[in-house]
Symmetry: C2
Subunit: 470 residues, 2 copies
């Protein structure tokens, strides 16, 4: 982690921005396209009650419909103008969505093998809403192995749903009443806000991590029990009912890997305060430096509060298959499992997909001999390439050998330290055809940080770098 | 529909029940098994706040967890003791779940063709939460053809989710505020209650259809605009905010097919009262008498209130694939589509499944030449077999050439006309290893009616009949 020290001290933004110099002709065209889409959307007659409100929807419906993440506009533009090497070489490069695009060839080869085309009657019929027993068994064995659990994990403790977002939504619905809240250190993967709020009306209470290094060990944005305790205290003072805490390891967007010892102290904090701990380990196999060991909390001999500790994992990141919609939960809490099963009908996964995923998870040889080593090798190369570019540009970043992105400090490009400036910089990248995620989308407390996804072909990253300078 | 007249007049239950004669030795064993399962469930330590309440869950979570449909116990027993021709020949026959088990061979043949094993990068990546464009286009073309739409339906008006239950939940969430209600004639497919309530906190307001024939045309449980108007009036008197009405055609559980003219009068009722009309046509291709024509509301030249008319269809019934988790919505209302898209991340379908379904829906030859004719032929034979048995037992039923079940009048087996007696009869069937759905699970206003699913191998239906007499 040699470069993390390069941001210690975090000097306030001073430099004049040189990367972006306002809209280009091409970006004006993009804006025209965006306007056209809005125009088309307005062509259909709508009933309006208030600004933007629809007479056809309820108050809740309007609030859901009008809910927009700060990066929404970027994804709309990207949707209309995606880069494609041959069909649209001047389109937008997406370094904003955390997807691994490096291993499609490996996945294609495996997913088109004959064992993937299996059909039996039960796959086509209604099944257990927690997931087919064969898949829950495969998940339990897989987690036992890759989380190094001292005891075999049980299929009955596994719940499978169509993505971790669904799990977040369901867990929030059953451990919280409407308006209750869950603690989360910031910055964090911002979509969790919607996961908890849209259906379940649960809030996140932010525990800001300071970007300055904490003490001698040069770990900016360091998560500590003290910060969690202080956050909980503030939440109580605000009259909120806090029902849980969300912990991510490896972290999104910091890419930080917490040791088991650290995680246990966080879980002990949760236990002391009777909080559920929702532990998100969706990047657990996306650690690409073999000298670094990730330790799942499932590797612990015992958990401080097993009835309130719930571990999430899924196929989106570690197996580069966000489109396959598989999220899994491991929990010993039978009440939680029963409650989730009641909501499971809304988050069911196709039987054929369940079969395919079970085949993959059981294929230890493919995972160990083919997919994981090659995936790690490619991620490491892509990360090195991007961080090399950042170094050459004098951009500080957290140097971590995990996840699909780096958390980079672009504060020197801000005219002043404000979130407006950060958004301007983000828009400037977009005009130059590079989609990134700015820190405010992750509720970062300090403006100027960006998450940059590197898990793409190098020539896309090159292009991105090139365009940033254009 | 020659037999529908046989129940006109609906004489009160008189006959002594002869079908069931109390628990047999085998059924006592079943009860022991059921107890064992409850015991096992209790082995894990639970925190209890009140009777059945868990300290780990919120008030809402406990309410979700403890929510039980009246038939829950039957499905638990069935889960532990499923009939299997060779492995468990004395197990429970499921004539309760509306699944078509007659066409597995046709589906297996088609679903294992090489075109089903296609993989491309976009199938493995995040996609449009309304469904991939290729699938929405396939659905639009499919519905245009099979609903006989006078104009081509548009892919932009299609939303694909993992099942119609998800669509019900989402629509309720965005057209209703919590505690608002939606009208529904009873009896109705009971699971809709949970679809609307569990996540979205929306109620159903029941409009009871009388089981007596209405006037001269011998249509028991006849849905009329007058009944809808009266229901709406009663709801208003109770201070409820009614935001919509659910209409099913063909109906579940009545299997009634409404003419387009009738449907338009219902839609005009909805328009007059500014109600959303959610039109569930999931059985539209499951009409097995070729002399009977089903007309989708999408075949109308114009809809009374197109902005408030939303049509559901899916793969579960018409393609005998409940396990593939595909529900589709067609609506011209852009606001609704936008709001549903925001909730779509919780109801996403695997890209590989979306590909498979699009392949099927585009395969006009397979649908028209292979699947539909053979499916109709088998359903017709199965229905004839079951209704023949019912006739021979003197059990009246609604004779309709559609859906996967018949709605049968078992009132003569009730000692007295009460829902307790109905439940006793249902339990008696279960002890004799036949799982049915009793009318109270569908909020039927008169006790003694049962939904009997016939879409299974004849020897299962035979066995069912045999066991009923044992």
């Amino acid at each position: 982690m040699q470069h993390s020290s390069s941001i210690s001290g975090c000097p306030p933004a001073k430099s004049t921005p040189t990367m972006c110099s306002g809209p280009t002709k091409k970006s004006q065209l993009t804006s025209v396209k965006a306007c056209e889409m809005s125009q088309n959307a307005l062509e259909t007659p709508r009933g309006e009650e208030g600004p933007g409100n629809s007479v056809y929807l309820s108050e809740r419906g309007n609030s859901i419909r009008l809910h927009e993440g700060i990066l929404q506009e970027g994804y709309i533009q990207y949707g209309m103008d995606r880069h494609h090497d041959t069909d649209n070489p001047d389109g937008i490069i997406n370094m904003g969505t955390s997807e691994n695009k490096l291993c499609y060839d490996l996945l294609h080869k495996r997913l088109t093998k004959p064992d993937m085309l299996h059909i039996n009657p039960s796959l086509l019929q209604y099944s257990d809403w927690r997931g087919h027993a064969f898949l829950r068994e495969a998940v339990a064995k897989f987690l036992t192995r890759y989380c190094c659990s001292p005891n075999p994990l049980k299929a009955d403790n596994v719940v499978v749903m169509n993505g971790c977002g669904s799990l977040f939504s369901c867990i929030a619905a059953v451990i919280c009443d409407p308006k209750d809240a869950i603690l989360i250190p910031t910055p964090f993967y911002g979509v969790i806000t919607e996961d908890l709020h849209l259906y379940s009306d649960v809030k996140l209470f932010h525990v800001p991590l300071d970007c300055e290094a904490d003490g001698k060990d040069n770990r900016p944005f360091r998560l500590t029990v003290r910060k969690l305790e202080e956050g909980l205290q503030r939440a109580k003072e605000e009259g909120l009912t806090i029902r849980g805490v969300i912990l991510m390891n490896p972290h999104n967007p910091l890419a930080e890997i917490y040791s088991l010892k650290e995680m246990i102290t966080f879980l002990e904090f949760a236990k002391r305060n009777a909080l559920h701990a929702i532990v998100d380990e969706v990047y657990m196999l996306t650690v690409f430096d073999e000298s670094v060991t990730f330790q799942s909390v499932l590797s612990a001999d015992s958990l401080p509060d097993p009835q309130r500790t719930h571990i999430m994992w899924g196929m989106s990141k570690d197996f580069a298959m966000a489109g396959i919609r598989i999220g899994t939960l491991y929990t010993e809490n039978r009440d939680l499992v029963e409650a989730l099963a009641k909501l499971g009908s809304f988050h069911g996964v196709s039987g054929t997909t369940q079969h395919q995923v079970a085949q993959l998870l059981q294929d230890k040889e493919w995972i160990n001999e083919e997919f994981l080593p090659e995936n790690r090798r490619r991620l490491k190369a892509a990360c090195s390439y991007l961080t090399g570019e950042l170094l050459s540009m004098g951009i500080p970043f957290l140097d971590r050998p995990a996840t699909l992105y780096v958390w980079a400090d672009l504060r020197k490009y801000l005219q002043e330290s404000s979130f407006e400036e950060e958004l301007s910089l983000w828009k400037c990248f977009l005009r130059h055809k590079v989609l990134l995620s700015c820190g405010q989308a992750f509720c970062c407390s300090v403006p100027g940080w960006f998450r940059i996804v590197f898990a793409d072909q190098q020539h896309h990253l090159q292009l991105g770098q090139y365009q940033q300078h254009s």
